[in-house]
Assembly symmetry: C2
Homo-oligomer: 277 residues x 2
């Protein structure tokens, strides 16, 4: 099974692919998110795995916008703990380190480490996994990289220190996308987790529009776990709402709630039902 | 007036400071957001200006978390159009360019430009404004940077091409923070814009909790313009909601709605009322 993702081999997205589909899935790297979506549309891959939100940085609006533009179904989700490791070619010792390469966001998430070892210079690089590839190929003297454990394995590098990030509450939620109408995908270990349904709808901007829309769920005791509003492009003062609820779209209460919501909303699209991560 | 911000001089945050407070405000750079908050708490600056959301990337959860941790008031907001410019030392021509330095996020937002000029190599750098500073100081041969117009002015560099970003719908919303209880700040040109009030509240995770909370607004025709949920740390299945509404907290309808919401919510904090950007 070919799976499109954004990034270099060894990226956190590839770890998400392994969690969702096992190690036999073949990850297909893309430079940009829209290219990963287009590859699935063109049938060049069987599915795509994309990040939707990070606990520190927030929702990835670009991917929510792309979800609306393409007719795909979310068939599974997973949560990846973002752990930054100090990685070097085998034989390089921690004491010999002079320089550490990584993506600036990763370098910024390890400030306590750099404060503790001021002799080590940090150098921004294009990509976390790509920085491991580079130190393995070019072997600059006293150089290491910061990236995932998977990146270390991918390029046969050694981990000098594990978990050097400042904040351990760093998780990214990824979803598996398949072509329209695909069935929920069974993720190993998730068969007892509650079902989740993701949807997007729009309302006219009249006071109480969201309140009325949510009545469709509340009147049937359907529980909402995420809601986010986003201005509709080109329609000032009208809004899109992205919503996750507990339940499967063919549960009777959820089915009726969605039918009622469709009456109240200008636009409604169900993105998929899947086991929560 | 001293104003804390995160980034280098010439950053988009500094442009937000100018829009909010004019060019006489003195921007005080900080490496991290939490350091900018701490500087305001310690009285080392008079205010802080921080980004809350970007139209492509989404909300900056780190800053929403810091807003909860510190007792500051939002007294104004502004929206900065993120325009990327190709910037070089005076005398360097476009035809002589070989290399362009910038933050990877900025480089990634100019992919069409690099596709059009494949002879130009892109090199990731720590910071957009910092890359202008570097090409001006070190003058590497045939080198330019990608950054804001303000960064070009700050370091006396020339703009070779303006607006080379792929997506023009790239805006960042910044807010002005002052110590607890500060009055709304009058931003030039914003005196006829509608008032906005920002708040954060939590509910128990029972079905319909958000619906009931929103009734406090809907029953009084108070219009909601942004809502976002966020799981409460350490309390599984309980949620925080960040909400922006139209109106000022001392408008009678808003005042009553907030009083009612305080009855329904476990926790409620008003972050401030200010003119919308």
């Amino acid at each position: 099974m070919k799976v499109a993702f954004q990034g270099e081999l060894g990226a956190f997205s590839q770890q998400a692919i392994q969690q969702l589909l096992g190690t036999r899935a073949q990850p297909v790297p893309h430079q940009r998110f829209d290219q990963a979506f287009a590859a699935l549309k063109a049938g060049k891959v069987d599915s795509a795995v994309i990040p939707l939100e990070n606990t520190l940085a927030g929702s990835v609006h670009e991917n929510y916008d792309l979800l609306l533009k393409y007719p795909f179904t979310i068939t599974a989700e997973t949560s990846v703990r973002v752990i930054h490791n100090l990685i070097a070619p085998p034989g390089v010792t921690f004491r010999s380190l002079q320089t550490v390469y990584s993506h600036p966001v990763a370098l910024n998430q390890c400030l306590d480490f750099f404060a503790k070892y001021p002799r080590i210079q940090r150098v921004p690089f294009y990509d976390t996994a790509g920085s491991v590839k580079m130190v393995m190929e070019d072997r600059p003297a006293g150089a290491a990289a910061i990236a995932s454990e998977l990146a270390a394995k991918t390029y046969n590098a050694s981990i000098l220190k594990r978990g050097i990030e400042d904040d351990r509450q760093n998780f990214t939620r990824f979803c598996l996308l398949e072509t329209e109408g695909a069935k929920p995908h069974a993720v190993p270990g998730a068969s007892k987790r509650p079902w989740k349904t993701s949807l997007v709808f729009s309302t006219k901007n009249v006071p109480g529009a969201l309140f009325r829309s949510l009545s469709a769920l509340a009147l049937r005791d359907v529980n909402l776990i995420k809601i986010e509003s986003r201005p509709l492009r080109g329609k000032p003062w009208e809004y899109l709402f992205y919503l996750d609820l507990i339940g499967r779209q063919d549960d009777p209460a959820v089915h009726n709630a969605l039918h009622h919501l469709a009456e109240l909303a200008d636009f409604l699209r169900i993105l998929g039902s899947y086991r929560s991560a």
